[in-house]
């Protein structure tokens, strides 16, 4: 009797059953996409995610309308990137027209520094120190990994609803959305301190006085922390004093290459149009 009822139920629900199978396949597809979003992302995908995120940042602040300073920053940055383990990414660098003091690294090799930060620098070695810190984030895939970590939890929960929609674009939107939030929230402190240590080495490899980055940190350290232009940078990074303390460990590299050029004059003439 029981078996009969079950059979009847199955027969009646045959169309629903087919529907269920169809959805199950889509859920499995979605799960596979979650795996893609949270597993290893290949370089092509990394670059594409970076282009989407870069366009978002440029939506918040456009480029400074001065071709000379933009080319200058690209020369310094591209030279530094060539000294690293990812020399052939499509590296591109830009100065954002914003008064806030900040710099951003986007997966795949796109790096921004704000006009507000550039105005507080006095040498090419300081610019190199900041760009090298950002290049280190790209080398270590800090943002990409943080985005994946955050997207993983959310995507797993949403696999069911995702199964009903276009999964690829959803997964990508999810990553971009987490990525944008990441720039407002910041990376782990350990990622920032690692980027400082690697940044000092990359600047030294590029032939610059590696004290450029600590010099910028000291400039930030003596600014008023209540300055609104510093709010996001201070919220998303360890305090400058703490970063300087941590760089004490790097004194051998800093000291060993401190006689290398700082290029104050080239910096002044190449950046005057941006100020």
């Amino acid at each position: 009797m029981k078996a009969l009822l079950l059979l009847a139920a199955l027969l009646i629900s045959a169309p629903a059953h087919a529907q269920f199978n169809f959805n199950l396949n889509r859920i499995l597809d979605a799960a596979k996409n979650v795996g893609q979003a949270t597993g290893e992302i290949d370089e092509k995908q990394e670059i594409q995610i970076g282009r989407d995120l870069g366009a978002r940042l440029l939506g918040a602040a456009p480029l400074v309308a001065d071709a000379r300073v933009q080319r200058y920053v690209n020369h310094v940055g591209r030279w530094l990137a060539a000294q690293t383990e990812r020399p052939d990414l499509p590296w591109q660098f830009g100065v954002l027209d914003a008064p806030q003091v900040n710099a951003f690294a986007v997966p795949g090799g796109t790096i921004f520094v704000t006009r507000g930060l550039l105005e507080r620098m006095r040498s090419e070695s300081e610019l190199a120190g900041v760009l090298a810190h950002e290049i280190a984030h790209v080398l270590q895939k800090h943002h990409l990994r943080a985005m994946q970590k955050n997207a993983k939890a959310s995507l797993a929960g949403e696999a069911l609803s995702m199964a009903l929609q276009d999964q690829n674009s959803l997964v990508r939107d999810k990553l971009i959305s987490f990525g944008t939030e990441l720039y407002a929230r910041g990376l782990d402190k350990s990622d920032e301190l690692e980027a400082d240590r690697l940044g000092v080495v990359i600047a030294a490899r590029g032939g610059y006085d590696p004290y450029g980055l600590p010099t910028v940190l000291q400039v930030l350290q003596r600014m008023n922390p209540d300055d609104s232009g510093l709010a996001l940078m201070f919220k998303t990074h360890p305090a400058p004093g703490e970063r300087l303390d941590a760089l004490g460990k790097m004194e051998a590299v800093l000291e060993g290459y401190s006689a290398q050029p700082r290029l104050e004059e080239r910096f002044a003439s190449e950046t005057k149009g941006a100020k």
Partner: protein, 158 residues
């Protein structure tokens, strides 16, 4: 802006500024590790910072003038005193800003957290960015002009 112009005219000149030595350090006669030591400054010594040269800062300390390692100096109005963000406040911020792009703030641009969250993609500007990119060869030529020589330097052990 005026102040900035002054900085541009005297790139290395910095007005005397109160600072503190955060660890015991030597006051040197010249900005070099092998220069003669004038005196030993103990932790928390108050100094006036005058100018910087590479990793060294010229200071006035209790009547004497000399150079200390810049990493041993922290300036007044210390940002280091500001407590770091706790994980809780970070979570709070995510909850507050929510998933980005739903609230569109028109006409307001900039790089505050809220402005970032409200930003719409600017594909045209992204395309423009690509036009400024430098080739590896061009960058190498630029480095040579500045007498920059690449060095082999190892990353620190984690």
């Amino acid at each position: 802006m005026k102040r900035f112009l002054l900085l541009m005219l005297f790139p290395l000149a910095v007005a005397a500024e109160p600072a503190t030595v955060v660890r015991a350090t030597e006051l040197k006669k010249e900005p070099a590790a092998d220069a003669p030591t004038i005196s030993n400054l103990s932790e928390n010594t108050a100094v006036d910072a005058l100018e910087r040269k590479g990793g060294w800062t010229r200071v006035k300390a209790s009547g004497a003038e000399g150079w200390v390692r810049m990493l041993a100096l922290r300036y007044g109005g210390d940002a280091a005193a500001k407590p770091g963000d706790s994980g809780v406040s970070q979570l709070f911020n995510v909850a507050r800003t929510g998933s980005s792009g739903t609230q569109v703030t028109t006409g307001v641009r900039g790089l505050d957290a809220d402005q970032l969250a409200a930003a719409r993609p600017n594909a045209a500007e992204m395309k423009k960015l690509g036009t400024y990119a430098a080739t590896k060869d061009a960058a190498a030529g630029f480095a040579a002009q500045g007498k920059l020589e690449s060095k082999s330097v190892e990353y620190p052990q984690p």
